[in-house]
């Protein structure tokens, strides 16, 4: 018997959920790169604390990136890739020159907030599509970014 398989709307590459997942993927990758840069180049009295904190953050982001990309695949769509592509899609400014320690922290707060904003949009898109699994992923990312923003902001006070 001939069978036809139609891709559900929620898993099409241009579906709101897949688009939002790929945007979060781009944000997370760009943020990971910036965090790694800060980890390498931070200097000053806060060096040890920040160097360690940034390491913990980029390690978490590395795991999250894989989880997000594989969720895209589980929805039978393709994850975006390529450093230039990630940078263009996310809109997060790349860190390319050394900054004062507090400016690293401030720039990462701004990048986390942007990523958080997009994670919220993913949560809402997944909810509207009744994709509770993707919504659960988004909620996990929101919680992590909120906690990280709190910690980074506390350093600046």
């Amino acid at each position: 018997m001939k069978s036809t398989v139609t891709t559900p709307a929620s898993t099409r590459v241009d579906s709101p959920v897949v688009k939002a997942l790929n945007l979060l993927l781009a944000d997370s990758y760009a943020l990971m790169a910036n965090t790694h840069y800060a980890h390498w180049n931070v200097e000053g009295p806060g060096f040890f604390v920040l160097h360690k904190a940034f390491e913990s953050h980029y390690e978490d982001l590395f795991k999250a990136i894989d989880e997000i990309a594989e969720r895209v695949r589980a929805l039978d769509a393709y994850a975006i890739g390529g450093l230039r592509n990630f940078a263009n899609e996310s809109g997060i400014d790349e860190l390319t020159s050394p900054l004062a320690a507090k400016d690293y922290v401030a720039s990462l707060v701004v990048a986390h907030e942007k990523t958080l904003q997009d994670a919220v949009a993913l949560r809402d898109a997944a909810g509207a599509a009744n994709d509770l699994e993707t919504q659960d992923l988004a909620i996990g990312r929101i919680q992590w970014h909120q906690k990280t923003v709190w910690m980074l902001k506390s350093y600046l006070k």
């Binding site: 900054l99 004062a100 401030a106 720039s107 701004v110 990048a111 907030e113 942007k114 600046l156």
Partner: protein
């Protein structure tokens, strides 16, 4: 929380993916204590200069004045203002009248006008460090 009318559309519009648009100045002001009059008035003047969009040099100078008065306080809010300034304001220099202007981004960590001017003129210095007499620096609002 203090609220202020939004900056008028005449302010150079910059892409604001996250908090470094014109509303950044309003948010910054909203976080200040009006009883700290020197700082508050300086921040209001910065906002006025940004809104007028006519005197970029005065805007840069006022930005640095506010930075000095802050003394490191309100760090995140002023960081967003600095990011706005980096996008909204530009430094341009040329070695002589009639030469094309070379544009530079306003440095994120700039604190003094003379430092910015010296950095902008440095590329035109001779091997002995002399700057051409006709060299000139100007500040402009970024066009879009």
């Amino acid at each position: 929380m203090n609220t202020f009318p939004s900056l008028p559309a005449a302010l150079p519009a910059v892409a604001c993916p996250f908090h470094d648009g014109a509303a950044t100045l309003d948010s910054f002001l909203a976080g200040l204590d009006p009883r700290e009059t020197a700082l508050f008035d300086a921040a209001l003047d910065l906002r006025s200069l940004a809104a007028a969009g006519t005197d970029a040099a005065a805007c840069v100078d006022q930005l640095f004045r506010v930075r000095a008065l802050l003394g490191g306080r309100h760090y995140l809010a002023f960081y967003r203002v600095r990011c706005w300034a980096r996008r909204a304001l530009r430094v341009e220099a040329r070695p002589a009248r009639g030469c094309p202007w070379h544009g530079f981004e306003l440095p994120l960590d700039g604190a003094r006008l003379d430092e910015i001017v010296n950095s902008a003129l440095a590329p035109f210095a001779s091997s002995t460090g002399e700057i051409p007499a006709g060299a000139h620096v100007r500040f402009t609002f970024a066009s879009h």
